[in-house]
């Protein structure tokens, strides 16, 4: 019974959601309930995750491990944000400004570092692999994409140059379409495996 109940719940939920695409009018109230439950469970899981994170950092501080100071900063800022959120509420302009003023620059800095790292990694890729067809192809495609993205190359409509330009601009689209098709087929197969209980990620 312990094994069967999760299977029944998972399969029934999956089939109901799948049927919802075909019988929207009939199943929409049930789908809404399922959606509400999902959001509720996800919220509780988030709370558990926060508690686990806090516990981890508390233990780090108590045992004076390496990086305990950063754990202290994390807990302090977490508590300040929590209290400010409860006191000021999310609708408060000051609270919103506080969050955005911290989050936007921090994330933007992180992304800019990531861009530089990716540039360096691409060069490292060439250096590690040497001049192989793969590395040459990578460099050529990267350079070509950047040049096309600059917008300097224009061609008069109806000419051979325009056709060539269109061809080169469509190349990334072809690759993207292939990736999207692969993702869709993969998702379909995965869904079928879950519905037929071949895969049971929820355990027994």
């Amino acid at each position: 019974m312990k094994k069967i109940i999760p299977i029944i719940i998972a399969v029934l939920t999956g089939l109901t959601i799948l049927a919802g695409y075909f019988f929207q009018n009939v199943l929409s109230p049930v789908l809404r309930v399922i959606l509400d439950w999902f959001v509720l469970i996800l919220g509780v899981a988030s709370l558990i995750g926060i508690a686990a994170l806090l516990r981890l950092h508390f233990n780090k501080i108590l045992s004076s491990q390496k990086g305990a100071f950063y754990s202290f900063i994390l807990i302090l800022v977490f508590l300040l944000t929590l209290i400010a959120g409860f006191v000021l509420t999310l609708e408060n302009d000051l609270f919103q400004a506080l969050i955005l003023t911290v989050e936007i620059p921090v994330e933007a800095s992180f992304l800019s570092i990531m861009a530089a790292t990716m540039l360096y990694t691409s060069l490292r890729f060439v250096r590690t692999k040497g001049w192989t067809p793969m590395s040459i192809g990578f460099l050529v495609s990267a350079v070509a994409s950047l040049i096309f993205n600059l917008g300097y190359i224009q061609a008069k409509p109806g000419t051979v140059g325009a056709a060539l330009l269109l061809f080169f601009k469509r190349l990334p689209k072809v690759g993207a379409r292939g990736i999207l098709l692969g993702m869709a087929i993969g998702g379909l197969v995965m869904g079928l495996r879950l519905l037929t209980t071949i895969d049971r990620p929820y355990g027994e």
Partner: protein, 560 residues
């Protein structure tokens, strides 16, 4: 017949032998001796040169005679006349003098005698070592037998308690369990041999702790001190939870499932090579990074920044024209211009805060056209900060009058938000005793759905769900440059009605709508950055090659 006694081990060798057959020591300078037998000879040797033969004969006699019983010695002692004293009476006077002198002066012994003594000591050590090895072999055999019995008992237990799923797994594997698990004789822990491509590391027992020696070895190799846990997808995940002892027994019995395809093997090889390359100390780091190289890098970076600033200040303004826009951009412009006065627009925020600057620049030209007090906006977020970003963007527009925007909340996963939005079409139809949502998503045919996204995953979920569940609504995508190319196929398929991606397209839209040149200025700076990136991409590999640092998989100086 004369023989040669090895000075190292004391073994007897033929007269013609140049090396000892026992220990392979050189016998070139060793003088041959005659085998001596007390019984055959009627007299004792009188010269010191014959002493080795005498001692050798004595040694042979000791080996052939059985050891004296302790009781007999005790009896002799009790009688008051020891065996030694009896023998001393028969020993000639010259031998007694030699013994006495040897006891008093260590140097009195000749070199041959010393060598023979060393050989005897060596033989004694060898015998002890052989005895110890025999003992260890015996102990090892006993342990192995005990472990075999234990495994048999576990197998019998597992066979009795084995569920159907495990039986199927074992049948499908068709390999004997004894081949899948190795038990070290020393401590009995189970180690799982890994393929060569992972390295020379053994997988730690699933329920055990890593050995200290292994951790030390890893740290000495510069590898991270972590153990590889093999996730047995089809076995561990399905092991019943009741009784941790049963679980560990079953895991030990069935071993891990590690199916590796050739592609995965190649990928793992690349990964391990990359990790090894990263872990290797770089030349510059080893020598504390030469100041000259560091200075070169600083100058190079400063040069790049200087070029960028100079071009931005001194370069001419090349405003993008709004005449030759891509069709997906033109579709957005047409929609914004033809929108009815009292339209309802759903805005989906699927962008992180880090992309706010870019996404707001992309969407602002259109918002400036569609945002007015008569139109109603609904905002749905699939990022926690989505609604705040929307509010900031609207505030930055500096509209004369505030617009009506209703927050529909935050959905943690885009697919669920889209499914809830598209599937909720009949709120009046209720099921008894089921809880109902307090805050239902609006049921309406929107005049347009604007999706602001920074990644293909979120945007893809929204497009696929809404185009299937709400086919009558028009979807317009406002995407960052990284997400745009991947979502263009949805424009070709007709699932979306218009797309603007990246600042380059936003600058064109801005020019077409005849608004300010804020985005065009930013786009010019972006262009300079892209040019510099192109220079680095093209030049650096050749520079690195020229310096001879492009060895495969080896660390070297950083390019640039």
């Amino acid at each position: 017949m004369a023989i040669i006694i090895c000075p190292e081990c004391g073994a007897k060798n033929a007269l013609t032998a140049s090396r000892c057959h026992q220990c392979d020591a050189s016998l070139v300078e060793v003088e041959p001796v005659q085998p001596f037998n007390f019984e055959d000879s009627g007299h004792l040797p009188s010269a010191e040169e014959d002493l080795p033969g005498l001692l050798n004969a004595l040694k042979n006699d000791e080996e052939t005679q059985p050891p004296a019983e302790p009781d007999e010695e005790k009896t002799d002692d009790v009688d008051g006349v020891s065996e030694e004293s009896v023998l001393e009476e028969d020993v000639p006077e010259w031998l007694l003098r030699i013994r006495q002198r040897a006891q008093e002066e260590k140097d009195a012994l000749g070199p041959i005698t010393q060598k023979i003594s060393a050989a005897e000591a060596s033989l004694l050590e060898e015998n002890k070592e052989m005895q110890r090895q025999n003992f260890e072999s015996w102990i090892r055999q006993i342990k192995k037998e005990a472990q075999d019995d234990e495994i048999d008992s576990i197998d019998a237990f597992v066979e009795e308690e084995m569920p159907e799923w495990l039986r199927k797994i074992r049948q499908s594997r068709e390999t004997p369990e004894t081949e899948e698990q190795e038990i070290t004789p020393e401590d009995g822990e189970q180690t799982i041999p890994m393929p060569d491509w992972i390295g020379t590391r053994d997988v730690e027992p699933l329920n055990g702790q890593p050995k200290e020696s292994d951790a030390e070895e890893e740290s000495s190799q510069g590898l991270p001190e972590e153990t590889i846990q093999v996730s047995t997808d089809s076995a561990v995940d399905e092991i019943p939870e009741e009784g941790s002892g049963v679980v560990s027994d079953v895991v030990q019995a069935i071993g891990p499932v590690l199916a590796v395809s050739p592609e995965e093997e190649i990928q793992a090889d690349h990964l391990s090579a990359a990790i090894a390359a990263e872990s290797m100390p770089k030349g510059g780091q080893e020598k504390g990074q030469k100041p000259r190289q560091r200075l070169q890098r600083i100058l190079f970076n400063l040069g790049l920044i200087l070029i960028m600033v100079l071009i931005a200040i001194l370069g001419g303004r090349s405003q993008p024209s709004g005449d030759s826009l891509p069709p997906q951009n033109e579709a957005v412009i047409e929609w914004a211009q033809d929108l009815p006065a009292s339209a309802t627009i759903l805005v989906v925020m699927d962008a992180q805060a880090g992309f706010y600057s870019e996404i707001s620049m992309i969407a602002k030209p259109v918002f400036e056209n569609v945002a007015n007090i008569e139109r109603e906006f609904f905002v749905l977020s699939s990022t926690p900060i989505g609604n705040l970003l929307f509010n900031r963007m609207i505030n930055e527009l500096e509209l004369d009058t505030a617009i009506s925007a209703q927050d529909l909340g935050y959905f943690p996963i885009a697919a669920y938000g889209a499914f809830g939005l598209g599937g909720d079409v009949s709120a009046n139809w209720r099921i008894a005793h089921l809880p109902q949502s307090e805050k239902a998503l609006p049921i309406a045919d929107y005049d347009g759905i604007m999706i602001l996204a920074d990644s293909i995953v979120g945007a893809k979920a929204w497009v696929e769900q809404l185009s299937a569940l709400m086919p009558d609504n028009q979807l317009y995508l406002f995407l960052t440059a990284q997400a745009g190319p991947m979502l263009l196929p949805y424009w070709d398929s007709g699932q979306v009605s218009g797309i603007i991606s990246g600042i380059s397209e936003a600058a064109g839209v801005e020019a077409a709508l005849s608004q300010s040149s804020l985005i065009a200025d930013r786009w010019q700076l972006y262009q300079i950055g892209i040019w510099l990136m192109l220079v680095v991409l093209i030049v650096s590999p050749f520079l690195v090659n020229h310096n001879g640092n492009t060895t495969k998989g080896k660390g070297g100086n950083e390019p640039g």
